[in-house]
Symmetry: C2
Subunit: 278 residues, 2 copies
């Protein structure tokens, strides 16, 4: 017998969940493996993990081999704060310009491409670069930042730049929430040990319930280890949802459809959710 091998994203966005996992002693019942979301997706598909949070676009690419946990995702119904397009001009003027995309996230890259092409109707050239605002803006007219780098930019409000929160823009354009990452299970594991999947799913849900009740404590805790005040974290953790209800699933499907429409995705899979009829 082996404990379920559960992936974990060690970014600020998953800190509230981690807090709940620790406080609920869940780490005794899973073998937690921390890595970047893109690496988690590769390891999961290769069979080195059983359940993991993976970028929405990686789910779309490997949906045949995966099923989704029903009650958890990294999502926002509007502002997300940690996916930011910072531009020297209004986005409407980026046609023919250059946009630097952080190479840290392909879900966000596709989201930026979707919004630039279809919401703002511009066709810039794209370059992928490491996440460093200064060097990105030396080479490009706008820069996509995500994660902790984006948060710092969001909180410091760099002057002379137009700042677009892509969670907000998506929500205003589609009327839907945006789903950035999902918790996926290897289909083979879900079929061979559904009880273990059910237990992990429940433990994650209970940890989320715990964390929603203790967001002030979690914000204080985050502020002890990072150079921003607790109010900033509280605001971020309020923006970030971990929800995956019907409207969120609709948002995910819409995202995949839009990514498909601009050639960033070969096909749009139906969502297969653990424990639900297909």
């Amino acid at each position: 017998m082996q404990k379920p091998r559960l992936g974990h994203i060690q970014f600020l966005n998953c800190l509230p969940l981690y807090y709940g996992l620790v406080k609920n002693d869940v780490l005794l019942d899973v073998d937690l493996v921390k890595a970047d979301p893109a690496d988690l997706a590769v390891t999961l598909v290769d069979g080195g993990l059983d359940i993991a949070p993976i970028p929405a676009i990686e789910y779309a690419r490997h949906a045949d081999e995966l099923v989704l946990l029903p009650d958890i995702a990294i999502s926002s119904d509007g502002e997300v704060q940690s996916i930011l397009l910072l531009s020297k001009t209004p986005t409407s003027e980026l046609d023919g310009g250059v946009v630097a995309l952080t190479n840290a996230s392909r879900t966000s890259q596709a989201l930026a491409r979707i919004l630039l092409a279809k919401r703002w109707g511009v066709a810039p050239a794209y370059v992928q670069m490491p996440s460093d605002l200064g060097s990105m803006l030396r080479e490009a007219d706008a820069a996509l930042l995500i994660g902790d780098d984006a948060l710092r930019a969001y909180w410091q409000r760099p002057p002379h730049l137009f700042s677009y929160d892509l969670g907000t823009v998506w929500n205003e354009w589609t009327g839907l929430p945006m789903v950035y990452a999902v918790w996926a299970v290897r289909r083979e594991f879900a079929e061979s040990d559904p009880d273990a999947v059910g237990r992990v799913s429940q433990a994650l849900s209970e940890s989320l319930d715990y964390c929603r009740l203790h967001l002030d404590d979690i914000s204080e805790y985050a502020a002890r280890w990072e150079a921003f005040p607790a109010e900033h974290f509280r605001s971020y953790f309020d923006a970030l949802q971990f929800r995956f209800g019907p409207r969120y699933r609709e948002g995910l499907t819409r995202y995949m459809e839009e990514a498909h429409s601009i050639g960033q995705l070969d096909s749009v899979p139906a969502l297969r959710v653990f424990g639900e009829a297909e």
Copy 2:
């Protein structure tokens, strides 16, 4: 600000401690990195970790760069169950024979060499091999197993073999406990952030206090994930001490002296302990 990076050994011997760490929410205040003890030593000395459990012999080799936590070690005052010499003949007949040493632990390798040379007065040839009893005994007259492999052999009592618990043999020979691993701090980290070291040291001690009070629960928990009954684990966790008091430190120094006397260690360092005068 960064959380202290704390190494952890993911073997059964450190499971009681892990249980205490989880139940006491310590994982919120450290960045826990799981690895083999030998890898932890390399990473610690290279600066990739701040505090880690490392094999006693690795401490001896790098003592100049390290200080020890005062209240924790992996140790036994007699039987240890998980360091076993399994021999086709009594050890007194191994002179000129071949002993296969698992390549998983250099502390135990040196312990076996010490006891064979000085306690039993025999001079076998040594071969290092992966930890597999069958193939070891095809090529050798005796085999040193450690860790989970040794425990399985201890519990299954393979017939037709003489079995020596090296914790017991050491204790009977020297009258002292044996220290297998110590918690070491990079000296540079101890000097630059003594408060953090103090907090981690205290958190580990409290986790040990917790685990000593809950050994039955921990044994039940271990048995859920391994193919042996809870009584076996309870017996093992009773044998294993996490103590590092005066007699234990005396045992460690004696071990280093003996390893030095048979050429397995270049020199015998004084023990430098965090928070104690040298």
